[in-house]
């Protein structure tokens, strides 16, 4: 019953909310999609918080994604014990980097009155959410280690079962409490993306990498209209 709620109901609810909510917010409340940077109000301490936090979280995200998408490759890598240890230690290092950054960010926000002026209830929720997620993750890494190895054989099938609409909670039910908390909090996190500043990572500017540096926008491109193939000889275009 609880298992069905937390490991079937919650994930599907979260993913649906993520999909519908983000699209709605992006198209209907576009003005409110922003990373809400606070560097302008406080610049120095942000460096020690934001950088370790973001780089840590990005590495961990791609680590989890790799184990989910190509479990075979991860298992092959883990066959040599030294490589397994290197992977585990690196991942844990990034987790501590993210935790350190987050703690710096939290103390910075609570200490500074200016930042308090731009802090919403949702920002406090975001901090609680991230703390739960990172601490439970470190707990898993510490007490249920060699995660990169067992993730591929236990969590990947569970997650895959969700995406193929044949949810199977048998594996999750047997998992230790730390893993269960980590998974549940992850899905709450996903579901809250459209309602918090988490939305900013969905609008990461990938397009910048390939676009021209300069952007020129024409409201009224006379040249285009004049040379348009749609115009029939002798017929005035609607706008001309």
């Amino acid at each position: 019953m609880f298992n069905n709620f937390f490991f079937i109901g919650l994930p599907y609810a979260a993913l649906t909310v993520l999909l519908v909510g983000s699209v709605f917010r992006y198209y209907r409340l576009g003005f409110k999609v922003s990373s809400l940077s606070s560097q302008f109000l406080e610049g120095r301490e942000l460096f020690y918080g934001s950088r370790p936090f973001h780089w840590g979280v990005i590495f961990l995200f791609f680590g989890h994604a790799t184990a989910f998408l190509i479990p075979r490759a991860v298992i092959l890598w883990d066959r040599v014990p030294l490589r397994l240890i290197i992977l585990e230690v690196t991942a844990l290092g990034f987790a501590f980097s993210a935790l350190f950054g987050l703690l710096m960010l939290i103390q910075r926000r609570f200490k500074n009155k200016r930042l308090w002026a731009v802090t919403t209830k949702m920002d406090v929720f975001v901090y609680i959410m991230l703390l739960t997620q990172i601490i439970s993750g470190i707990w898993v890494a510490w007490f249920a280690h060699w995660g990169s190895a067992w993730f591929a054989t236990s969590l990947t099938p569970y997650l895959r079962s969700l995406f193929t609409f044949t949810p199977d909670v048998a594996i999750m039910a047997q998992m230790p409490l730390s893993v269960q908390i980590h998974v549940v909090s992850a899905f709450v996190f996903i579901g809250m993306i459209p309602f918090t500043r988490f939305i900013h990572f969905l609008v990461y500017p990938f397009a910048y990498i390939t676009r021209n540096y300069q952007v020129v926008i024409w409201n009224w491109d006379r040249k285009k209209i004049r040379t348009s193939g749609k115009l029939v000889n002798g017929v005035r275009s609607k706008n001309n």
């Binding site: 950088r51 936090f53 919403t120 309602f195 910048y208 300069q214 952007v215 491109d221």
Partner: protein, 496 residues
């Protein structure tokens, strides 16, 4: 040839009296809002001085603008690699302290204070936190040199002056200053546009105004770093960047922007320039000593039949071409060569030009007495109160020859007019300077007229945009008849 039209400006610094009316007009219309209190899209600085934000010209600190790299240019502190790498914390971004903490006064306290022995006072409180603060800086804190030389001595433009030149400049008796009103330059090669990872900042094709799409801005803050003039500001409340929009709703309907309309000294001119967009990259990448010359070369003669033909083929409206032919900016910048861009070495090709201030030495202290005699009527240009090198650092990327020519022209006009109205100068004292800059009497009279006696319509020649057509391109206007308007009608509320 890719001919486009650009709304360009000239500010005549000799006429600026530093009254800040422009700043107030702008503030009242655009930035009197939460999160924007500290922004001055239009500000007036005293030079020499550190300006607003403090030391904005020092690109060793802020890394704004472009720098030459081999045969081309690259953004100094932003760009695809640096921008995305520094997204989480931008090391070169100015913060609130570099501008100032906006404040108001507790006026209510004057009325509501309890009866007591002391007179109630209105304490200054921060507009961000609401806590009492002691203001320590403001947008024009060093106005009129701020009562000391401290600000003037920190001026970035005086850095490469020799010790003797600096001493001469700061001698109390010779201390002089001029004002520098600044708005967004609406550059041809804007660094803010190039640095914006979201692609929210763009240059409008029709008139070249640079705008920020508030719906697309994601607060990556790279424009604040990249703009070497620090004219892109971060709204701390909405989490969006904002900048001068040249009052585009006014310009589109043929009216002058608020700062220009309200200018008391009538120092501001606005008009159309036609330019060749194909040349932008080559011009922005040229050697530093050629920058001003090449930059001015990009603007084309609107009376040349070949230019008119190419402009029409490119979709420039006839009304715009007519405006370009009557443009006061074209006269100052191209025809007479009197106006120069501010800090061309930033390589953004700004479209705001300045007629540099003529500050001849009228008198000096010698042996303890105030000496007012000089060999010529206004003294020589070389004896300008501000060192030529200093003005060259501001307006011609260090090229003293360029600035000297402009000042000589301005002086020639004055001598000529003195001769016309008073007629007390010897013939060769007038003709010599006139011949030196190859100026005839008609030109001198025309410069005088547009400088001293211009009518409103001489100063602002703005073609109204054909927005009625543009709107029909986007949607059928009949469908929204009776509705409240077009477009973006969301209140500017901070996101979650």
């Amino acid at each position: 040839m890719d001919i486009r039209s650009q709304i360009a400006m000239v500010f005549h610094l000799d006429k600026c009296i530093g009254c800040h009316t422009c700043s107030i007009a702008c503030k009242n219309i655009w930035t009197d809002r939460k999160g924007a209190e500290y922004m001055w899209w239009n500000n007036v600085e005293t030079k020499p001085g550190t300006g607003y934000p403090s030391k904005w010209e020092d690109q060793d600190i802020y890394k704004g603008g472009w720098e030459k790299k081999g045969k081309t240019i690259r953004l100094k502190g932003a760009g695809k690699f640096k921008g995305l790498k520094n997204m989480f914390h931008n090391p070169n971004m100015p913060v609130l302290e570099d501008y100032y903490e906006p404040w108001t006064y507790q006026y209510e306290h004057l009325f509501e204070a309890e009866e007591g022995d002391d007179q109630p006072v209105a304490r200054p409180v921060s507009l961000i936190t609401g806590e009492p603060i002691t203001p320590k800086a403001g947008p024009n804190w060093d106005d009129d040199l701020g009562g000391s030389q401290e600000y003037a001595r920190k001026d970035v433009n005086a850095r490469n002056l020799s010790a003797a030149e600096q001493e001469a400049m700061f001698q109390l008796e010779r201390m002089s200053f001029h004002y520098l009103p600044r708005i967004c330059n609406h550059c041809l090669n804007p660094a803010c546009v190039a640095a914006c990872p979201s692609g929210a900042i763009y240059k409008r094709g029709e008139d070249g105004i640079v705008l920020i799409n508030q719906k697309k801005c994601r607060a990556w803050r790279m424009c604040v770093t990249a703009c070497p003039y620090k004219k892109s500001y971060f709204n701390w409340n909405t989490g969006k960047s904002e900048k001068c929009l040249l009052c585009y709703p006014r310009v589109e309907s043929g009216q002058a922007p608020a700062c220009m309309h309200s200018c008391v000294g009538r120092i501001r001119y606005l008009g159309v320039l036609l330019y060749d967009a194909d040349k932008i990259e080559a011009v922005a990448s040229c050697a530093e000593h050629d920058l001003v010359e090449k930059h001015l070369d990009i603007y084309l003669d609107p009376n040349d039949p070949a230019v008119i033909k190419a402009a029409r083929a490119n979709g420039v409206a006839d009304s715009t071409i007519t405006s370009a032919q009557n443009s006061p900016v074209y006269k100052f910048v191209k025809k007479w060569g009197l106006a120069l861009p501010l800090h061309p070495e930033f390589r953004t090709l700004p479209n705001l030009f300045y007629v540099p201030p003529l500050l001849p030495t009228m008198a000096f202290v010698e042996n303890g007495s105030y000496e007012t005699t000089s060999e010529s009527f206004w003294g020589a240009i070389e004896k300008s109160r501000l060192p030529m090198k200093y003005l060259a650092n501001l307006f011609s990327a260090g090229n003293e020859k360029t600035i000297e020519t402009v000042l000589k022209k301005l002086m020639a006009v004055r001598l000529h007019r003195r001769n016309v109205t008073v007629g007390d100068l010897p013939e060769d004292e007038v003709n010599g300077p006139m011949n030196e800059v190859m100026m005839d009497k008609d030109t001198a009279d025309a410069i005088f007229r547009l400088t001293s006696l211009p009518l409103f319509d001489d100063r602002f020649v703005i073609p109204a945009a054909h927005r009625e057509e543009a709107m029909e391109m986007l949607e059928s206007t009949a469908d929204v008849k009776g509705n409240t308007g077009f477009g973006f009608k969301e209140p500017p509320k901070r996101g979650l």
